[in-house]
């Protein structure tokens, strides 16, 4: 079962990285969102430093969600999902493997790109580290919650707007605790660990809830 899980992860990683623009495009989108904000709020570096973590998090949230549209769609269309569901791997773990591969291909690059974008937003080292840590823990949570939306989008051939509408309300707690952990690291008064541990808990919760609900959605769609 473990080897089947690894095989699905490797297959999806190969598809995501091989098709070109999978990982890169997400980072470019992230960069575009971060670039657009100073044009909207003005080039005030003090203000940007204050709202920088929030900007980075909204950019990462949108980048994570928008990439999810094709996660199951291709496999549903060409029948590979039926083949995968016949394997020894339960559909829940298949969904988890696909989520993990998707996060490595699109979420991890966002975490790596975050410090460079943080420099552009005048974040100091402390805030930069806090944003990176929260993104490292929080983006998997967003991706795995997004699996639910991705399963609906794939099963019913519906576009990315529906995913965003369905998943954004579920992702609000992640956003709250990620940004408050960063704020705590910079200004206090709460220690960084308090909200960060809640964020860790939310991420673990999403790792379970996302694949289970996505598998239920895929099964329900088949009727």
């Amino acid at each position: 079962m473990w080897s089947a899980f690894i095989a699905v992860v490797r297959r999806d990683l190969g598809l995501a990285l091989g098709s070109g623009g999978g990982a890169g495009l997400g980072v470019v989108f992230f960069l575009s969102v971060v670039t657009v904000v100073p044009f909207a709020v003005g080039p005030d570096l003090v203000l940007l430093a204050r709202i920088g973590p929030a900007i980075l998090w909204i950019g990462a949230l949108l980048a994570s969600l928008i990439g999810l549209e094709r996660l199951f769609a291709g496999d549903v269309e060409d029948g590979s999902l039926d083949a995968l569901s016949l394997s020894a791997l339960p559909l829940e773990l298949t969904a988890a493997a696909k989520g993990l591969a998707h996060w490595i291909a699109t979420g991890l690059p966002l975490v790596v790109a975050a410090p460079a974008l943080a420099l552009m937003l005048n974040l100091d080292g402390r805030a930069m580290g806090a944003v990176m840590l929260t993104l490292l823990v929080g983006t998997p949570a967003v991706t795995f919650l997004g699996l639910i939306g991705a399963a609906f989008a794939g099963a019913f051939r519906r576009g990315g707007l529906l995913i965003a509408v369905l998943v954004i309300p579920l992702a609000i707690p992640v956003l709250i605790f990620a940004v408050s952990a960063t704020t705590a690291a910079v200004t206090g008064p709460v220690p960084f660990g308090t909200p960060f541990r809640v964020l860790l808990g939310l991420a673990l919760f999403a790792l379970v809830l996302g694949p289970v609900a996505a598998a239920a959605a895929l099964r329900g769609a088949r009727g």
Partner: protein, 243 residues
């Protein structure tokens, strides 16, 4: 006759046809009494007459949550027993619950203007209700995006349950994030803190609006069953015309 006999769509249609006029009458009566009492209730020493908004605002908030809870229960009916009436109940409840959530936000906003000096604040309770409204709208969007009603029902049921698990987490997160709204004052440990002269009209209003919800929901379910029947008849007629 067991409870499952009632869950038969044909039985439901005949039973609800008999019940609906009584329910509607009782709703009108209870709301008339409740609202009359609300108008005669003493004004708050701080909030003055604006406290009257409470008598509709609070029931809307309760019923928005009640509606979602009922939809979560229907979702179990859809997923576990695959019962057609559970699907009808789920579908009919969504627009009613969304309307109550929206009304709760609107009345709260109108109450907030004289009391807090602003129509909207990013306070925990307001934000939680806004998230609930977003969940309702997402569910309706999901249903309308899928043509096949059976698959749409199961998809909406799964999303409802995911949302139901998530609502307490959202509530807790948003509480952590910001709190300005007064804490719960009716359902709390150690009894209500609200004065009896205000509590009674509120409870009667809440009961009246609950009856309104039940009446509208029953009407919506009847409409939905009849709509499905018409669609089935049309499909049959089209098939016969082809043959």
């Amino acid at each position: 006759m067991g409870i499952l006999d009632l869950a038969n769509p044909i039985r439901f249609l005949s039973l609800s046809a008999r019940l609906l006029p009584w329910l509607a009458g009782l709703t009108a009566l209870t709301l008339a009494v409740g609202l009359a009492l609300a108008f005669r209730a003493p004004a708050d020493y701080q909030q003055g007459e604006t406290v009257k908004i409470m008598y509709i605002h609070v029931p809307f908030a309760w019923l928005a949550m009640f509606g979602y809870t009922m939809m979560a229960a229907s979702s179990l009916g859809i997923l576990v027993w695959r019962h057609p009436l559970a699907d009808v109940a789920h579908k009919a409840a969504a627009p009613i619950g969304a309307t109550f959530a929206a009304l709760c936000l609107i009345t709260g906003s109108l109450w907030g203007r004289p009391m807090w000096g602003t129509y909207w604040v990013w306070d925990a309770r307001l934000t939680s209700m806004l998230v609930l409204l977003l969940l309702y709208l997402g569910l309706m969007a999901l249903r309308s995006a899928i043509e096949d009603p059976n698959r749409a029902g199961r998809a909406a049921a799964i999303l409802t349950l995911v949302g139901f698990i998530n609502v307490p987490i959202v509530k807790f997160s948003v509480d952590w994030w910001n709190t300005l709204h007064q804490p719960a004052s009716v359902f709390r440990m150690g009894g209500p803190t609200i004065e009896a002269s205000l509590l009674w009209p509120l409870l009667i209003c809440a009961f009246g609006f609950t009856l309104l919800f039940v009446t509208l929901h029953m009407l919506g379910m009847r409409t939905e069953i009849l709509r499905r029947r018409v669609q089935a008849l049309e499909a049959r007629a089209a098939a016969e015309a082809m043959a």
